[in-house]
């Protein structure tokens, strides 16, 4: 090790160590920490308690059969965002943790993700839907196991549409109809079309389907080069700009982004969100009628949606990565009946209400008629097959797209100029990028 590197390492270790405040204990036989935002849940909401219990059950089963114990550590999503970097930087990261696709590449490039493939049967690997696993793979390695797939769709309020003289047969078939309807339905305190407006990974996630529907993309999968300065991205950016300019979409989301409150109060007619809100509405507004439809494409375009979802990862520099990997695989990635049943329970409408990431889990849920509800049926049969995995772009790529999107959507900037600016930023970054495949 060079003196320069040693000095750097020492300074960084001392610095980040000082900043760290979250120890996870030490010692060879200490329990493995599992950072998550589900369990043990401090909430009283029965549904959140059920999700917490699901995690607790998986951990209890493991702990009763294995000497290496697992200990869940609860924190909110925002807390995890802030504590994880500090914990990893000080060499005190969690042994097991949850990450979204948007975060995957940063952790993978940092070399902290344990390959789970050696612990999995080939049958179990093949059991995963390819798109569900795609963004967690590098070659034959599997660096995270998704527990769900979360497709995006357009939720609508049929009562509100009906009161405006719009039947369910007149649902928008393309972008232009969507914008027209959105503008028509935006009167008083009522909003026609809710698109996400807050800058962040989530907004980009909701933007990608519209982008993909044009045939455009951020990065070319083959060459790994940016292709954002093109007709497709310009059209998708323009859609977001026109949605605001036409008055169809508000600059801030109704009810602070709470779809239950907004739909219950008839504040919103159409709302782009994911499958998780089916269960949210069914549980919290059981008397409220709502419908779900695929995102309409541009005229002549194809329907495409984005698939989100969280994955369990193992810290390769943790206390016992092998045991942690066995635990993760036993819960999520085994052909064992108990694993399939536990996965099915998670994705069933009684606990999380997401689309499963594995064929055997999907079959188990189908056998239980778990997705008989019309909304789930639309998700499973019409929307999921059009899904593409949420990209795993690193922060600079995310930021370039986000800046362009925000500028066009909320500052009235020219889509062509912003696409060009983003492209230049991406090209500059990728000249020196060294790491895993971007897409």
């Amino acid at each position: 090790m060079s003196r320069r590197r040693l000095l750097g390492g020492s300074a960084a270790a001392v610095g980040t160590g000082l900043l760290s405040s979250c120890g996870t204990g030490s010692g060879d036989d200490a329990p493995l920490s599992f950072w998550n935002f589900y369990s043990p849940a401090p909430q009283q909401d029965p549904n959140l308690v059920a999700q917490s219990d699901w995690f607790a059950t998986a951990i209890r089963r493991w702990n009763s059969a294995n000497p290496r114990q697992i200990e869940p550590v609860y924190m909110t999503g925002d807390q995890m965002n802030q504590r994880m970097p500090v914990a990893f930087a000080s060499g005190d990261g969690p042994d097991i943790f949850l990450i979204s696709p948007g975060d995957y590449l940063r952790y993978a490039n940092g070399g902290v993700l344990q390959d789970l493939a050696p612990h999995m049967e080939q049958e179990a690997i093949d059991d995963y839907f390819p798109q569900a696993l795609a963004t967690r793979r590098n070659g034959d390695g599997i660096y995270g196991l998704p527990m769900e797939q979360e497709p995006l769709a357009l939720f609508y309020d049929p009562d509100l549409l009906e009161s405006a003289g719009i039947s369910q047969g007149d649902l928008p078939a393309d972008w232009e109809q969507l914008l027209d309807l959105g503008a028509r339905l935006s009167t008083g305190n009522q909003t026609g079309l809710v698109l996400d407006v807050d800058p962040g990974y989530y907004q980009n996630f909701t933007f990608y389907p519209w982008l993909w529907q044009t045939g455009g993309d951020v990065i070319d999968p083959g060459s790994q080069a940016p292709i954002f300065d093109a007709d497709g991205p310009r059209a998708a950016l323009d859609l977001y700009g026109r949605a605001i300019a036409s008055g169809a979409t508000p600059r801030t989301r109704p009810a602070n982004g709470d779809i239950v409150g907004a739909f219950s109060s008839q504040f919103a007619a159409f709302w782009q969100t994911g499958v998780w809100d089916v269960q949210n509405l069914l549980l919290n507004a059981p008397d409220k009628s709502f419908g779900v439809m695929p995102l309409p494409p541009p005229p002549g375009g194809e329907k495409v949606t984005a698939l989100g979802g969280w994955a369990w990862c193992v810290n390769a520099r943790g206390r016992d990565p092998e045991a942690a990997a066995r635990f993760v695989v036993s819960v999520l990635g085994s052909m064992d009946e108990q694993s399939i049943a536990h996965n099915a329970a998670w994705n069933s409408p009684t606990i999380k209400g997401n689309m499963p990431a594995r064929a055997s889990v999907d079959a188990a849920l189908d056998a239980e008629n778990a997705f008989d509800d019309e909304r789930y049926r639309v998700f499973r049969e019409d929307i999921l097959p059009t899904g593409r995995a949420e990209p795993r772009f690193p922060p600079v790529v995310y930021k370039a797209v986000s800046d362009a999107l925000q500028a066009v959507q909320l500052a009235g900037a020219d889509p062509a100029e912003e696409a060009e600016r983003a492209q230049a930023s991406l090209e500059g970054y990728l000249e020196t990028y060294r790491g895993g495949s971007l897409i």
Binding site: A11, A12, G15, T16, A89, N109, T252, P254, Q406, L410
Partner: protein, 318 residues
């Protein structure tokens, strides 16, 4: 090298002097020692928890750190990148506007409210408490409440404006208004705190001075200009200095909840950009470099303020 025998003869035992007794400290020395002892715990805390991390932050600014233990010395690359980073300059511009507008407004509202609640009238105690109340509430809670109130179309503010036919303004969703909205909310949040500080300063001004001025026929504005303002100078200095530091280094919680740096980066203060780089993007070295520049600028401004105001005394005599 040469060796020399010592030429100093040993002192005879009989010439040994009496052990010297320590001279009692003078009053000034005793006061100095007491002052040092009182200051020591604070100084130690500041060194360990402020100065040392600041120093380490400067060091980290010369490294590439990915947050996973991978570190490389890159010299001044982070600083070069900063100079070429449009988002850094945008955040610097937003921070400057925020500072230049907010600090004077905080000063004026704090002083104005202090002058108001300095008067003796029924319920003044309640009014003082009410004005101070926002300061003791969690910033996250305050920000969420304001976010609800300022939501387009359905928020209370939008409803009130629609009632007087001023609808269509998006306080948090329009880049033209978002920073102004954050400034207004910040003033509302902090004015009570600075009001209390000014109130303490006002109550230190001897009433006889006002009485004498009144007898001499000085009008209220003249009394304010000739007595209140000059005698409030040390308090004003304290308020200006602390509010400046608070404005530049604070505000993260509110921005995080209220706007998340948007719309279109219009509220992306430098402190928020540092947070993004460190915690969302995992670029700890770059975040440390920006932080170091921010601290350096603050130190320069603070030092200039100290020099210009002679340490806040505003006097020309020692």
């Amino acid at each position: 090298m040469s060796t020399q025998a010592t030429t100093t003869a040993p002192r005879p035992a009989t010439e040994r002097s009496e052990p010297t007794r320590p001279q009692p400290l003078g009053r000034r020395q005793r006061e100095t020692r007491a002052a040092l002892l009182f200051l020591a715990p604070d100084a130690l805390g500041l060194i360990v928890f402020v100065a040392l991390p600041m120093l380490l932050s400067v060091v980290l600014g010369f490294f590439w750190i990915d947050g996973f233990g991978n570190v490389d010395f890159i010299g001044v690359d982070n600083y070069v990148r900063m100079a070429q980073d449009p988002q850094f300059w945008n955040s610097a511009r937003v921070t400057l506007i925020y500072l230049v507008v907010l600090v004077p407004l905080i000063f004026v509202t704090g002083l104005g409210l202090a002058l108001l609640v300095q008067q003796k009238f029924p319920t003044v105690g309640w009014i003082r408490s009410a004005l101070f109340m926002p300061y003791v509430v969690s910033i996250v809670v305050v920000s969420m409440v304001w976010q609800f109130m300022l939501t387009d179309r359905t928020g209370v503010v939008a409803a009130a404006l629609a009632w007087i036919r001023l609808d269509g303004i998006s306080f948090l969703g329009d880049p033209r208004f978002a920073l102004g909205t954050v400034i207004v909310v910040t003033i509302w949040l902090q004015m009570g705190y600075y009001m209390i500080i000014f109130l303490a300063g006002l109550q230190d001004i001897p009433g006889e001075l006002y009485e004498a001025a009144r007898i001499d026929g000085a009008r209220p504005w003249a009394r304010f200009r000739r007595i209140t303002l000059p005698l409030l100078a040390p308090t004003s200095f304290f308020v200006l200095l602390t509010s400046m530091v608070a404005v530049v280094t604070g505000g993260l919680d509110m921005i995080f909840v209220l706007t998340n740096g948007g719309p279109a980066n219009s509220t992306s203060l430098l402190i928020f950009y540092i947070y993004q780089q460190a915690f969302l993007f995992g670029d700890l070295g770059y975040a440390a470099a920006i932080g170091s520049v921010l601290v350096a600028v603050l130190l320069i401004i603070s030092a200039a303020m100290f020099v210009v105001t002679r340490g806040g005394r505003f006097t020309h005599d020692d």
